[in-house]
Point group: C2
Chain length 376, copies 2
């Protein structure tokens, strides 16, 4: 491909945003003005979404009514449930079901107000994911409970059981940590969609489709398989050596933007450590930490010009698995969080908009003349 | 916004393509190597889609099997029909219903083969649009007929009646003319989505969402209202003068890329002229042509620095209305055609891919520190 084609748009600035700042060199992430380390462990998901939408944290009264408003928008209708059941019956992945469910998010409640639509879309994602999962497990869907917070209600809809406080805290930390991250592919997709003056449902649906791709939504499921295998074998060093000598990649390391350790990995590592302490599975988490140390050292020796540091997927896998999210839903659970960022970016784009229309270099033929089919 | 922010990505080259070339200065459009004037009036929609997907026109045998293959993929299941009925019952626009239907396009037939998925998505769009429309009119959906071509079958599913040859030819010209047009917002969206190694259903769904926005999908419905009003009043000159003196915009003129007359306007003008000749409504079309001449002249005098030339919407409105497409479905009928371009671009992107991830300038605060809710 020619050099003047900016295929990945790397380094091309396409927007101004006050939502998040990613500093890949320093390994820093700011969300709504706060370093991510200030938010994870302190904020609830609802607080961070309010922060993104309003530019500041809510007062106690504002938080109460925002939580109640989101909780009131969680239900999905029978028609959408039946589509999700069919997707589950056909064995389609969770992200396909989520694309179908989000695409229909304005059924039953279109108001024409994009701020309200954002709340509806954020509220409905956990319901869509959990409903799909229940069907896939051959179980009846669990209705959302308005008295539960966003994170607790998601776990409740997955299992039908009141989640432990430990699990809710672990999931909350995850949801807060990955809610926004600059102009990643799905967020940029959402902004491009609404740049035509389309709507937030269309923007979020498009973003789900982009997050579905493994280059973006990643592969936390395989990371978990790897970590469990290493734990069973009990010898991270041999695994690392064999993998690298075999010319293969170690999953959970390296990121397009970060040149140092992804700040979200640190935050999620701490959340996972707190979750696993006294959980009865503390040994598994010790293996995870030991593996990280061995792997980072080996990678630095293996590729000294560009050490591959721990990325966000590495600690996502043990944390989500620990709190009870099945690996088949890891990417969809990423969406449960990231939809807060997508919708905030849509509103920001709409407030100061210019339609996105780049150009392409044409490399095909020209000047062909028509030949009727019988003469071909 | 700062000057180094390329908000609209104007003039930024993000891909190489062999699908279409838009020359805005010369007013030329090449599709699959052919000037659009060579294709419209000659090619069927199926031939042009084959051209985009394979890079050449099909032989007679290839065309037969491609038509049969598309025709065999037109059906949608009961679950999707029920979602479309609900959308129609709630008065949601056709593009919302189309987003829901395309999002679920892989129900009942996921093969994992993206080339087959492209055919499925192309085949299913007319069925989704027509099913929604039948429900909206309080009628039962009409099953597709495999022996009808793509254009004829769409009209058949809308009305339940065998369309006239004249109408099929008019719609065919439209579908061929607008099938692809460089990296417009919806096509770029589709490519960005699959750049994560996502799939064609996700790419096309996202593109529907982008096309929904009036800055892209446009407003051929209002153009038609305007043309009909002018025809009733019988005096284009007065309408043009009053509109421009009132500081208002004349719909159907001006385009971000073209500096001269949109080549598609010429092609559609000819198709519409052929359709209206001897149709019993030839007088209406004469008004349309007279209005175009008066408006272009007046616009050139009104804004001599940049004359606003006739755009594709101007002739889309009378042509689609003439062949029997209701104005509420004009943008969705644009999608019936453009999905051929979207899916071809998805496959082209996947064949030589790099994930799209631009950057943003952060304009928000930094260094905030956490305050618990009770202290806010």
């Amino acid at each position: 491909m020619s050099d003047d084609v900016r295929a990945g748009l790397e380094g091309v600035t396409v927007a101004e945003t006050s939502l998040s700042r990613v500093d890949g060199e320093a390994g820093e992430l700011v969300v709504g003005g706060y370093p991510v380390e200030e938010l994870a462990g302190n904020a609830t998901y609802e607080e961070v979404v309010f922060l993104l939408l309003e530019g500041r944290l809510p007062t106690a009264d504002e938080l109460d009514s925002f939580r109640a408003d989101l909780a009131a928008r969680r239900e999905i209708g029978e028609e959408v449930r039946n589509v999700l059941r069919r997707a589950a019956d056909e064995g389609l992945p969770a992200m396909d079901a989520l694309r179908m469910g989000v695409a229909a998010a304005n059924l039953g409640g279109e108001t024409g107000d994009e701020r309200e639509t954002a709340s509806r879309v954020i509220a409905v994602v956990p319901t869509v994911v959990a409903t799909y999962w229940r069907y896939r497990e051959g179980l009846a869907p669990v209705d959302p409970r308005p008295e539960l917070g966003h994170a607790a209600n998601y776990l409740f809809m997955l299992t039908g059981e009141q989640p432990t406080e430990r699990a809710v805290r672990g999931l909350e930390s995850y949801l807060v940590t990955v809610v926004d991250h600059g102009l990643n592919a799905s967020t940029f997709t959402a902004r491009t969609v609404v740049s035509t003056e389309s709507d937030v449902v269309s923007g979020a649906t498009a973003a789900v489709g982009a997050l579905k791709g493994p280059l973006h939504g990643g592969a936390p499921g395989p990371v978990l398989d790897m970590l469990r295998e290493i734990h069973e074998r009990g010898d991270p060093g041999t695994y690392v050596r064999e993998t690298l000598e075999g010319g293969e990649r170690l999953m959970g390391f390296g990121h397009r933007v970060y040149r140092v350790r992804d700040p979200r990995a640190a935050v999620l590592s701490e959340a996972a450590e707190q979750f696993y302490a006294g959980s009865g599975q503390a040994e598994f988490f010790e293996t995870v930490e030991r593996f990280e140390r061995v792997a980072v050292k080996a990678l630095a020796e293996h590729k000294p010009d560009r050490p591959l540091e721990t990325n966000v997927e590495f600690y996502t896998a043990p944390l989500l698995w620990g709190v009870g999210v099945p690996p088949e839903l890891f990417t969809a659970t990423f969406a449960v969080s990231r939809v807060g960022g997508w919708t905030a970016h849509c509103l920001e784009q709409l407030a100061d908009n210019r339609i996105v229309r780049p150009v392409a270099t044409y490399t095909g033929p020209t000047g062909r003349t028509w030949t009727p089919v019988e003469e071909r």
